[in-house]
């Protein structure tokens, strides 16, 4: 396995532009991230922070109004943005696959499970129907579906939510992709079923040396599943780095506030540290840092100009003026702790 990143995003921006060009929503703005083979990258953010748009940008499956305005997406040494639509179709489902939140919406109710699991194998690998179905049966077994033989001939409505989501996982894995993007894959599942599914994803990842991008709003899932973390706020990655380091010492005030606002099992009935205010409107962002209006440590500079990406150490990137070399990398933490 090479040591270089499998996927590297450099200064990637995706903007939604209204028909007359009068309104621009910067859904993804100057995002730089990388992921290595076998690694799990968690992307967390609230609704509207741009995490799903980022995933769709990687797959180039954006709606018409969206434009990828700048940047590069290097995947296995090639820039995905330079590829033609036909070339992209050979990447999607084959080398990069995606699992969506709602398994009922991603399965076709009119086709049998066998047809749907076999479809990518027939399209991408040109296998015949019988061979593709044989492979589909193995895939169902790999995602722990009991009696795969009968399930292949059934339709999605005959299955429970947890089982459907495992079938979507089997479709994602069918052509042995190098990168799997999972967008909130367990949000619609019950807790004990969620635990089953997370375990399955980890098994599949280990067995195939897969890189996994996990999009979620749940920091608990990140703590359980991920090696690397990118926190998004208003279309930008405000902090990224190894999960343990960020949980131990969050550098961005937003990450810090988010981590301390979550109830923990251990400390009962303590007052939660709530974040004041509301997430911003992406079409009318403040001139400076988008988090400044809610930030307890904001100062004049934050309201004047958006902070660039600073690197407090080799592994981390932070978009906050407090992390600027002049301000001292730990300055923010000290002040945050006092406030």
């Amino acid at each position: 396995m090479s040591t270089g990143p499998l996927l590297e995003l450099v200064n990637l921006s995706t903007h939604f532009i209204s028909e007359r060009g009068s309104r621009i929503v910067r859904a993804v703005d100057e995002v730089s991230l990388q992921i290595k083979a076998g690694e799990t990258l968690g992307i967390v953010g609230e609704s509207g922070s741009g995490k799903t748009t980022l995933a769709l940008t990687i797959l180039r499956l954006l709606p018409q109004a969206a434009r990828i305005c700048s940047g590069r997406m290097m995947f296995q040494g090639e820039d995905l943005l330079q590829k033609s639509d036909a070339e992209m179709r050979r990447v999607r489902g084959k080398r990069i696959a995606m699992i969506l939140q709602d398994p009922m919406a991603s399965l076709n109710p009119l086709f049998t499970i066998g047809d749907q699991v076999a479809e990518p194998i027939r399209v991408h690998e040109g296998s015949g129907r019988a061979a593709a179905w044989r492979r589909a049966r193995e895939l169902l077994k790999a995602v722990h579906i009991p009696s795969p033989e009968t399930r292949l001939n059934q339709h999605p409505h005959e299955m429970s939510g947890g089982m459907r989501q495992r079938i979507v996982g089997a479709i994602g894995m069918s052509c042995e992709p190098r990168l799997l993007i999972a967008d909130e894959p367990t949000t619609s599942l019950d807790l004990t079923i969620q635990a089953q599914y997370l375990k399955l994803l980890r098994e599949l990842q280990r067995a195939h040396g897969l890189a996994l991008i996990f999009i979620t709003h749940n920091l608990g899932i990140v703590a359980k599943m991920c090696d690397q973390l990118a926190v998004m706020y208003a279309g930008r990655v405000v902090e990224s780095g190894p999960v343990t380091r960020i949980f131990d010492a969050p550098a961005h005030p937003y990450t810090r506030a988010l981590l301390s606002s979550i109830p923990r099992m251990g400390d009962p009935r303590q007052r939660l540290a709530a974040i004041d205010g509301q997430p911003p409107d992406l079409a009318a962002l403040p001139p400076g840092c988008a988090f400044a209006p809610r930030c307890p440590t904001a100062f004049d500079r934050c309201r004047a100009a958006p902070p660039p990406e600073f690197a407090p150490d080799d592994s981390r990137r932070v978009r906050c003026w407090l992390a600027a070399p002049g301000a001292g990398p730990l300055d923010g933490q000290v002040r945050g702790g006092a406030g």
Binding site: E46, L219, K224, V243, I262, M265, A274
Partner: protein, 327 residues
């Protein structure tokens, strides 16, 4: 002081499996007993289909029980006269999960909050207005919100409006059905804090239903864990959360997500899924998925018994059991 007491509460629905299928009976709530004390919170947890929402509907008087009953401040609900029922409905209010669905988009905020006041109490318009402004202040919204419409508010603010409406009649008990699940992560703490402050300030009792176990443990004084219509374990929130006894509760809490990547917990991954409530397993409903199931579990329904300061319905803890209980 006990505000509400449910005793062997049941709700059964008739159902048909398939279009021409057999008639069946769904025991959505099956002999459930609990108490909610004044100024305290009962947390109800369980997965979809466990009967927690039906239990909430029974408490709200939106469903009539098929068996058992509810006593509110010592009076049996079934025996109440019209005036008594009126008083009960005023005393028990609800806040629902989705603040986009629970507020009428065509009504101004003042009308939304005033509606329970106007239908239940004969107040002067000026008194109603005064009370609305007072309620808005209570939930932390500016008084100019009164003349706006729901679409002008974010999810968190809408949930505040729903809370203000629930408090309009000064209830004793508020049923909170997943009150923060639909909200953004950064907003949830605001609403949980607000609910806690209001509880202290107004002496409210809560019935808190949620699937986020950490939030339930954080908000509740007592917890009841439900599985397929029955309570399998109940007791003080911290006792249940820290050392669950029932194998289902143990699996459920082990499936709760960690708050730090280095926090390693023992993982109990249950096999299979929650069975259909139309055909629940015999004996203990949990036995087909239980890692400790014995022969007896398939035959006999376990009763709730006291084990280490909480109630557990499991044969492992029965006095005559020879099996060793999981830690």
């Amino acid at each position: 002081m006990v505000v509400l007491e449910a005793e062997r509460l049941s709700k059964h629905f008739h159902a048909r499996a398939g279009f021409f299928g057999d008639r069946g009976m769904v025991r959505a709530v099956d002999g459930v007993s609990f108490t909610i004390e004044g100024g305290r919170t009962l947390g109800v947890v369980g997965e979809s289909g466990c009967g927690k929402t039906t239990t909430a509907k029974l408490v709200l008087g939106l469903e009539t029980p098929s068996g058992g009953g509810i006593r509110f401040e010592g009076c049996d609900l079934q025996a109440l006269d019209t005036a008594g029922r009126r008083h009960y409905r005023k005393s028990v209010q609800a806040v629902f999960q989705d603040p986009y669905a629970s507020l009428n988009p065509r009504m101004r905020i003042s009308a939304i909050i005033a509606e329970p006041l106007i239908t239940n109490e004969s107040l002067e318009p000026s008194a109603v207005r005064k009370r609305v402004l007072q309620l808005l202040d209570l939930v932390g919204l500016p008084s100019r919100s009164a003349d706006l419409f729901p679409h002008e508010f974010s999810g968190g603010q809408r949930q505040r409006i729903a809370i203000a409406r629930a408090l309009a009649l000064s209830p004793k008990l508020v049923v909170l059905d997943e009150p923060v699940s639909a909200l953004d992560v950064s907003i949830r703490a605001q609403i949980l804090n607000l609910l806690r402050d209001l509880q202290v300030q107004l002496g409210l009792s809560y019935m808190f239903i949620a699937h986020d176990l950490a939030a339930v443990a954080h908000m509740s004084h007592t917890i009841a864990v439900m599985y397929l219509g029955r309570i399998v374990e109940s007791g003080e929130a911290q006792t249940v959360a820290r050392s669950p006894k029932h194998p289902y509760t143990q699996a459920l809490f082990s499936a709760a997500l960690p708050s730090h990547p280095n926090e390693h917990q023992e993982e109990i991954i249950l096999a299979g899924e929650v069975p259909s409530p139309l055909r629940p397993p015999s004996g203990c409903h949990f036995h087909p998925r239980c890692p400790h199931a014995m022969e007896r579990c398939a035959q006999q329904q376990p009763r709730l018994i006291g084990v280490e300061h909480r109630l557990v319905a499991c044969h492992l803890y029965a006095a005559d059991s020879t099996a060793t209980a999981p830690k």
